[in-house]
């Protein structure tokens, strides 16, 4: 899955599908994000890293409109989310899919019903096509068909992530937000999940915004990486640029013991 950085991250002429400018988000006295700028380009997989508690999830939630912001602007599909009417806001929302860290499946519904929730809400389809599409998504994310009629409480951690991904993909979104998609998965399962994301991105032309701590994911599937520190982006670029970064946190992250093991394993 190695990619040449020149073809991806270094090319700044491409269309930014998400454009965050001078974003400020805070709770009470504390300012979490301080004038943060970030671009996510169409068709790329962006890995987003940073120390715990520095606001990676806060940024994701701010883009999704779940956390209020104090200043700055967020543009998605070239439109400012602030000046939007309810209707156009809705049409933006159906063009993105979100995989929450804990899955956030509706616990009272089966996996199939979970996947069908957004379809029923937005599309007028026959029951037959609804069932077929739900099963298609469930198989696409690598779940067995018998998982479709199970409740979330009957699924393992990895299956919950996959089911939640199937629901995120229900409306063929253009942007996929993943919050630590491989945390809590075994290394083989995590590898398969990475592979799955890459395949989906290739076939469906998705743009993927992935918050992750998984060095394997960063090395294997991410086109570009952005590192958050002290409320702003301290480094961004393909993995080679990150490895060359002078920032102490980025250095220790990508040159630590674990990182060297991953890098050695992939290059060797």
């Amino acid at each position: 899955m190695a990619r040449s950085p020149a073809a991806n991250g270094a090319d700044r002429s491409r269309e930014a599908i998400i454009r965050v400018r001078e974003l400020e988000v805070g709770f009470g006295e504390r300012l979490i994000l301080k004038k943060l700028d970030l671009d996510v380009y169409r068709g790329e997989i962006l890995g987003f890293v940073g120390p715990s508690g520095q606001g990676k999830s806060v940024l994701t939630r701010a883009i999704l409109g779940l956390n209020p912001k104090r200043g700055g602007s967020i543009e998605v599909f070239g439109e400012d989310l602030d000046g939007m009417s309810g209707e156009s806001r809705k049409s933006v929302e159906r063009r993105w899919g979100v995989l929450f860290q804990q899955g956030a499946l509706f616990s009272a519904l089966t996996v199939r019903q979970n996947v069908q929730v957004p379809m029923r809400e937005y599309l007028k389809l026959s029951e037959r096509l609804l069932d077929e599409l739900a099963m298609l998504k469930i198989e696409m994310v690598g779940l067995k068909p018998d998982a479709a009629d199970k409740l979330p409480s009957e699924l393992s951690g990895g299956m919950i992530k996959r089911a939640s991904l199937a629901r995120a993909l229900a409306l063929d979104p253009e942007i996929l937000f993943l919050d630590e998609p491989t945390s809590g998965l075994d290394p083989i399962g995590a590898g398969e999940f990475d592979e799955l994301i890459a395949t989906l991105q290739r076939t469906l032309g998705l743009t993927v915004f992935m918050v992750t701590h998984d060095l394997d994911s960063l090395y294997t599937v991410c086109d570009r990486i952005a590192a958050l520190g002290d409320g702003r982006i301290i480094a961004e670029g393909p993995i080679d640029e990150m490895l060359a970064s002078e920032d102490p946190w980025v250095r220790s992250y990508f040159h630590g013991k674990r990182a060297r093991a991953v890098a050695g394993g992939i290059e060797g």
Partner: protein, 389 residues
């Protein structure tokens, strides 16, 4: 790796999906155009249904995709399904003119049959009988579980009494605050109002016989023996029993109870004993306050509507109420508390993984507690009558 995805993705200018049929009798040609995506989902279904209906059932078909502007998994699925259906009715079909990116997508979603959702068959009468049987069995199980949980709670209490260092005083005082102290305003207010209403109705009815002073007997006995403790128990079941079930239930959902167990802590001792103990201590205190508030309400109404001044009210009250009238109400309170605590903890522990299950168990905790409190009150009435207390 193809990174250019312009042909795949949405842009709002694309037109609605269309399928046109032409061609000679032996070779059918379906020309598709427009956007075959989720935005046009119902149009996609209509066009395809019309296409399948219009096609004959012999010869061969070509499905021309060259003029399709956009395609996503929904469109690709429907197209590949249609190709399959043509084949099934004896009309072998092929795609022609697919763009490379559409080709990838068509391969990815390749048609396959899915097992339809398995639905349980329901047969009227048998199901009704099975439901009734199930309800009886589960009521029996509830009773048995109630007794065994009560036993476990008492055993844990005894352990705590034998080793007082294991007693959790902070937990108990915290629960007492939640259950008793914070419950005072609403319980006092409701009891006061009920006292007023009972006295008012009593005065209106007794006036006809010129016996309105007997309203003091009515109010005093009714409130002290029954209403004070019953109202309090129902309020506590609704207020604290539900909270108790929801707390234990959500702890169960998040494996917090398992976490306690693997640390060698007994969940009954840590979670349930302090709560049940707080109920047993708090409910009599609340019942006492409720009875006083109701008497004050009754006295006030008797003064306003019945011209019975407070000193007369108090004197008559003293004459009619004996110490055991007061005790009858108070003796019942700890038992009511125990019933509420046991039911709430059983329901809390029975919560399964879903939010729906939590809701069901909180509801049934409150409903069962209120029902059992009233049944228990009936048994006490029979018992006290039998022993002439």
């Amino acid at each position: 790796m193809p990174r250019d995805t312009t042909g795949l993705r949405h842009d709002t200018s694309a037109s609605a999906p269309r399928a046109e049929l032409d061609g000679a009798d032996q070779e059918l040609r379906a020309r598709l155009s427009g956007a075959w995506t989720v935005e046009h989902a119902s149009a996609v279904e209509q066009e395809i249904d019309a296409l399948v209906a219009a096609a004959g059932d012999s010869g061969r078909a070509l499905i021309d995709l060259s003029r399709i502007e956009r395609l996503d998994t929904l469109g690709a699925w429907v197209l590949d399904r249609t190709r399959h259906e043509f084949g099934q009715k004896g009309l072998p079909a092929d795609f022609v003119g697919a763009k490379p990116e559409h080709h990838i997508l068509l391969n990815e979603v390749a048609y396959r049959g899915f097992q339809p959702a398995t639905e349980k068959k329901r047969t009227g009468l048998v199901d009704v009988l099975a439901d009734i049987g199930g309800a009886v069995v589960s009521a029996g199980q509830d009773f048995a579980r109630g007794i065994s949980t009560l036993g476990e709670i008492i055993a844990a209490l005894v352990r705590v009494i034998l080793v007082p260092s294991r007693f959790r005083l902070p937990a108990l005082t915290n629960q007492l605050e939640q259950i008793a102290f914070r419950g005072v305003p609403i319980i006092v207010l409701i009891s006061f109002l009920v006292g007023c209403i009972v006295a008012q109705q009593g005065i209106f009815q007794l006036q006809r016989f010129g016996a309105q002073t007997f309203v003091v007997n009515l109010v005093g006995i009714l409130i002290l023996r029954e209403l004070g403790v019953l109202l309090t128990s129902i309020m506590v079941a609704g207020r604290s029993g539900s909270a108790f079930t929801a707390e234990i239930g959500s702890m169960k959902m998040r494996e917090e109870i398992d976490a306690l167990r693997v640390m060698g802590l007994d969940p009954i001792e840590v979670l349930i004993v302090p709560r049940v103990l707080a109920l047993v201590i708090g409910l009599p205190m609340l019942a006492f306050l409720a009875a006083i508030a109701a008497l004050v309400g009754g006295g006030l109404v008797a003064w306003i509507y019945g011209d019975i001044p407070p000193d007369v009210f108090l004197a008559r009250l003293k004459a009619t109420i004996t110490f055991n009238t007061f005790m009858v109400g108070l003796i019942k309170a700890p038992f009511m508390a125990l019933v509420i605590g046991v039911i709430a903890s059983i329901e809390g522990v029975a919560v399964k993984g879903s939010a729906e299950s939590l809701g069901q168990h909180v509801t049934s905790s409150v409903v069962k507690s209120i029902f059992m409190v009233i049944v228990l009150d009936g048994f006490f009435a029979i018992f006290f009558a039998a022993i002439n207390y």
